[in-house]
Structure formats: structure tokens, C-alpha cells
């Protein structure tokens, strides 16, 4: 009994540690005072100010574009990588490949950022591309570091999936490409969605790598938040943070509802298949 008490106390403490800062952040975004931590009355004026902040809106649009493109690219490449790791058995260079997939997960961002910048500079000298740094280089950099996360998500989904369906289709004469698109892809679709969302949020979150590989005129939202936070806290940032949390929470809520519904549907189908058979 005493142990149970201790454990639930630990859980409460852990969740409080995780959520109190976020709750406070959201609360103070509705504070009238410019002094963020002194409550003086309810106000939504900081949200109104946000909407007229032109550079901030531009940075937001840029970040969303980069995040969407790099997440899509990294889902395509990450699915290939996950397939290769989970389904292709041993192939030449598999060890190096596996290393290149897991290493970015723990690589310090400063190293990734610096090394990619030096690559882009060297490439520009040698082949003349990319011409300067900007949206393209940020997108490539983000694809590279989010690719690893997507590959790991897809690979673990494939490893946990029953491969007998694929084998059955293959036995019935379906070509590998057809098996992939008709059987494998629909089954791993939730993992693709999860991977895309993960890549999107990671890209939207990155300040270090983007700072290295961005050029003049391509300031992303996190870069802008970072430079303004260095000068201290402002209620406008609180309001912006609240909106970002709201967007993420909505996205995750929708994704989990859709996945739960698909899961139920699948279970129903399986039930019917068993009863029918």
C-alpha cells in the first residue's frame, strides 16, 4: 500500500514537472501586463499584435513550407530506408547504411549544422550548386536529419508487422512493387502518418541547423523566436507559443482519432474474416 502511494506520488510529480511550465506559459499569454510573470488582468491583445507582425508571419509561412516539403521528402526516403533495413535481409553496405540511419538520431545539432554548411559551401565552389543558401539548403538539411527518425519509425512498424500477407501475395504472383503498394503501404499507413508528423514537428522546431545553413532573407520561425528570446521574454512569444501548442495538439488529436478508428475498422474486418472463414 505504501509502495502504491509512493508510485502514484511519483507519477503526479512527474506529470506536474512536464505540464506546469506549459500551463503557465499558456496562462500568461492572456496577461494584460507586459511583465510576463505578473498577472494584471485578462487580455487577448498580444494575439492581435501577433497578427500584425509582418516579419513573424513571413517567417511562419517559410517554416511551414520547409517543414511540409522536408517531411514529405523524408517520408519517401525514410520508407525506402525502413523497407531496406526490415525486409531486404543482408545486402552490401548494410552496416554502414544502418549506422548512417541511427547516428543522426543522437548527433549533436551543432555538428550536423556545421558539416552540412561546409558541404554546401564546398559544393557551390565545385559544381556551382546550391547557389547561395536559403530555403533549398534548409529543406535538404531538415530532410537529412528527420529522415533518420522516419526510417526508425517505419522500420519498427515493418518489423512488428506480420509478413505472411506479403508472402501470400507474392506466392499468388503479385510483383514486388504491387505487393508494396497494395498490401504493405496500407498496413503501414499509420506509421507513415506518424513519421510525417514527427518530421514536420522536428523541422518546425529546429533552430541550430537552420541557423547554420540559412542565408540572408531566409529566417525561419524558430530562428526568429530564438533571437527575440535572447533579449528576454515577451507576452507576444507566449501568445505565439500557445498558438503553436494548439496547432500541434489539434494535429495529434485528429491523427490519434483517425488511427483509432482505422484500428477498430481493421479489428472488425479481421473478426468478419474469421467468422466468414
Amino acid at each position: 500500500m505504501k509502495r502504491g502511494g509512493f508510485l502514484s506520488w511519483v507519477l503526479w510529480f512527474g506529470y506536474a514537472f512536464l505540464y506546469v511550465p506549459i500551463v503557465l506559459l499558456v496562462t500568461y499569454s492572456f496577461n494584460e501586463s507586459r511583465l510576463v510573470t505578473v498577472w494584471s488582468g485578462f487580455s487577448t491583445k498580444w494575439y492581435a499584435e501577433l497578427l500584425t507582425n509582418e516579419p513573424l508571419l513571413e517567417a511562419t509561412a517559410l517554416s511551414l513550407r520547409v517543414a511540409a516539403v522536408s517531411a514529405t521528402l523524408s517520408v519517401i526516403l525514410g520508407t525506402c530506408a525502413g523497407m531496406a533495413m526490415a525486409r531486404f535481409g543482408r545486402f552490401r553496405g548494410r552496416t554502414l547504411f544502418g549506422g548512417m540511419i541511427t547516428a543522426p538520431l543522437v548527433m549533436p545539432e551543432v555538428i550536423t549544422g556545421l558539416s552540412l554548411l561546409l558541404l554546401f559551401v564546398a559544393m557551390e565552389q565545385v559544381v556551382g550548386w546550391p547557389d547561395g543558401r536559403g530555403v533549398t539548403t534548409i529543406t535538404i538539411a531538415h530532410t537529412t536529419f528527420t529522415l533518420a527518425y522516419v526510417a526508425v519509425v517505419i522500420q519498427s512498424r515493418l518489423a512488428g508487422m506480420d509478413s505472411s500477407l506479403e508472402e501470400a501475395a507474392m506466392d499468388l504472383g503479385a510483383r514486388p512493387a504491387k505487393v508494396f503498394f497494395v498490401i504493405t503501404l496500407p498496413i503501414i499507413a499509420p506509421a507513415l502518418v506518424a513519421g510525417w508528423l514527427l518530421a514536420f514537428t522536428l523541422s518546425l522546431d529546429d533552430v541550430v541547423i537552420a541557423s547554420f545553413v540559412s542565408g540572408p532573407g531566409s529566417t525561419t520561425l524558430p530562428m526568429m523566436i530564438f533571437s527575440s528570446v535572447k533579449f528576454g521574454i515577451s507576452p507576444q512569444i507566449n501568445a505565439l507559443a500557445t498558438l503553436m501548442i494548439l496547432v500541434v495538439a489539434t494535429g495529434i488529436f485528429i491523427a490519434s482519432v483517425v488511427m483509432a478508428r482505422q484500428d477498430r475498422q481493421r479489428k472488425r474486418d479481421e473478426q468478419m474474416a474469421i467468422q466468414g472463414g
Binding site: L7, G14, F17, T37, F97, T102, R175, P176, P222, I245
Partner: protein, 309 residues
């Protein structure tokens, strides 16, 4: 017929080749080659030019003899500077210390949490884990920002302590090592809980029952059964926290004081403030050398888990 089959399987193989080649080439070009370039430039010399480093390889044309010589210049001064200047050594030691304390704090908070979740009703485990992962989806930068308002003088903690009458003036925790520990523990906690939970959840409860039947006290059975069996989770979680924490930049920059030197910050300043790309590359290589053992170990652990599945 057999010709058709072999033709198709060749197409299949070819398709397989494309599937592997796309991510492979991408990673080679944008992950592996950049490291080689960093390695090369770390031997270069800083010059005032665009880009600001001297080329390593040059073709020297000797007009008199009519010959061309290939000159390769390897400059070791960057590395001598790294080992000779106290600033860099201090930054390395500091980074390791801060990362170790962060890992320990994550373990102290994360282990009981993971344990409690793994012991909860099966139907409640999913939502409880979801609650741990959810903050990870909100921006890292914003979570660090949230702590500034809490830790600063006249911030939430300071005001709370003052209104309770525990302190007489504002308390500033911000801009200190402790602020960095708190911020980093906060951000990395999900990385610790996740692998811990997945090992603790798989733990067979009958082992504990057997220990209890044989007269083992709960605390002792925790020490002799649960803890050793959860070791893989502890190792994986600790590596997932420790490795990125060593190279962390944003948290010490925003929460730490000017004397909270970490190697990520030194690299950033060499690059952006001093515009000394060769020294920044040298710092990056040295940081990689520091992390290569834990990274290899992490890959080994990952690989073993993969084979276990």
C-alpha cells in the same frame, strides 16, 4: 516462361536496388561526405576570404621548369590550440559534467515514472505513456522559453517563495548551471522514460511473485530482480539523453550564465562570432571523438535489440 520469371525477378532486383540506393546516396552525400569535409577543413588555416579557410590542396605551377606540383597542406595548429587552451578543455569537462548530471536527474525522475506506468492497469498504460510523449511534440525552444519565466528573478518560483515568506527578495535561478540542469532534464525526460518503460513493461511479474514467495522483501526483490532486468532500458535511455546533451547548444545559451561553458556553445561562437571555420571544425571533430564510443555503443545496443525482435 522461365525467361519471363527471370526477367521479372531482375526487375524486382532492380527495383530493390533503387529502393536502397535513394536513401543510401542521400545519406552518403548529406551525412557522411560532410563529416569528411569537416575533418579536412579542421586541418586548414583561417584566412580572410570567402569562404574563410585556406584550401588544403593546391596545384603549384613552376614556370621555369614547366612542371606542376601537387601541394597538400595539413595544418595542426587548430588541434594544438584545442589542447593548449584551457577554455576548450574546460568546455569539454563542463559539457560532460552537465550531460552526466542531466542523465542522472532524468534517471531519478524517469525510472520511478516508467516503473509506475508499467505497473498501472494495462488499459491505463497507453494514455499515461501518451502524456509523457506529448510534450515532446511541442517545440523544444518553447519549452525552454517556458522555464525562463519560471526561473528568473521575479519569476514564478521567486514570487512563490517570496509570498510564502521564505525569501525576502527576488531569487534568480536563471543563468546558472542549475537552470541548465532543470531545462535539459525537462527536455530529455521522455527519451529516458520511453526505453525504460518498454523494458519494464516486458518484465515477467511472476518472477517478482516467485521472489516474494521465497521470502524476498519487495525492496530487495526490486534490487535483485527488477533493476538488473531493466538494465538494457537504463543503458538505452541514458545514451539517448547523454549523447545529445553533451553537444547541446540552445539550453545553455538561453538558461545558462555566461560562465556555463559547453562545447556546443564554443563551436557556435567560433563559427558565428569569430568566423573561424577551421577551429570550429576542429572543435566538431574533437566533440565527435568524445562521442564516438557512446555512439558506437548506442548502435550496438540498437542492433542487438533489432536482432532480438
Amino acid at each position: 516462361m522461365s525467361a519471363l520469371v527471370s526477367a521479372l525477378s531482375r526487375v524486382g532486383l532492380w527495383g530493390r536496388g533503387v529502393v536502397v540506393a535513394m536513401p543510401y546516396l542521400w545519406l552518403l552525400l548529406f551525412f557522411l561526405v560532410p563529416f569528411l569535409i569537416v575533418f579536412g577543413i579542421s586541418f586548414s588555416e583561417s584566412i580572410v576570404a570567402q569562404p574563410p579557410y585556406a584550401p588544403l590542396i593546391a596545384w603549384l605551377r613552376d614556370e621555369d621548369a614547366g612542371t606542376t606540383k601537387l601541394q597538400v597542406l595539413l595544418n595542426l595548429t587548430n588541434y594544438l590550440r584545442l589542447t593548449g587552451d584551457d577554455l576548450y578543455i574546460l568546455a569539454y569537462l563542463n559539457s560532460v559534467r552537465i550531460a552526466l548530471v542531466t542523465t542522472l536527474l532524468c534517471l531519478l525522475i524517469g525510472y520511478p515514472m516508467a516503473y509506475a506506468i508499467a505497473r498501472a492497469e494495462p488499459s491505463r498504460r497507453g494514455p499515461l505513456m501518451m502524456l509523457v510523449i506529448l510534450p515532446f511534440w511541442t517545440s523544444f525552444l518553447i519549452r525552454i522559453y517556458a522555464w525562463i519565466g519560471i526561473l528568473k528573478g521575479n519569476g514564478v518560483i521567486s514570487n512563490l517563495l517570496e509570498s510564502l515568506g521564505l525569501t525576502s527578495g527576488p531569487v534568480e535561478i536563471l543563468y546558472s548551471d542549475w537552470a541548465v540542469y532543470i531545462g535539459m532534464t525537462y527536455c530529455y525526460l521522455p527519451f529516458m522514460v520511453l526505453p525504460l518503460y518498454s523494458t519494464l513493461e516486458k518484465l515477467d511479474p511472476t518472477l517478482l511473485e516467485a521472489a516474494a514467495d521465497l521470502g524476498c522483501r519487495p525492496f530487495k526483490s526490486f534490487l535483485t530482480v527488477t533493476l538488473p532486468l531493466s538494465l538494457p532500458g537504463i543503458v538505452a535511455g541514458s545514451l539517448l539523453v547523454f549523447i545529445p546533451a553533451v553537444g547541446e547548444f540552445v539550453t545553455p545559451e538561453l538558461l545558462g550564465g555566461p560562465d556555463t561553458l559547453m562545447i556546443g556553445r564554443v563551436l557556435w561562437n567560433e563559427f558565428f562570432s569569430n568566423r573561424d571555420w577551421p577551429v570550429a571544425s576542429g572543435v566538431a571533430i574533437a566533440l565527435l571523438l568524445l562521442l564516438v564510443v557512446p555512439i558506437m555503443y548506442f548502435q550496438h545496443v540498437q542492433g542487438r535489440e533489432e536482432e532480438g525482435r
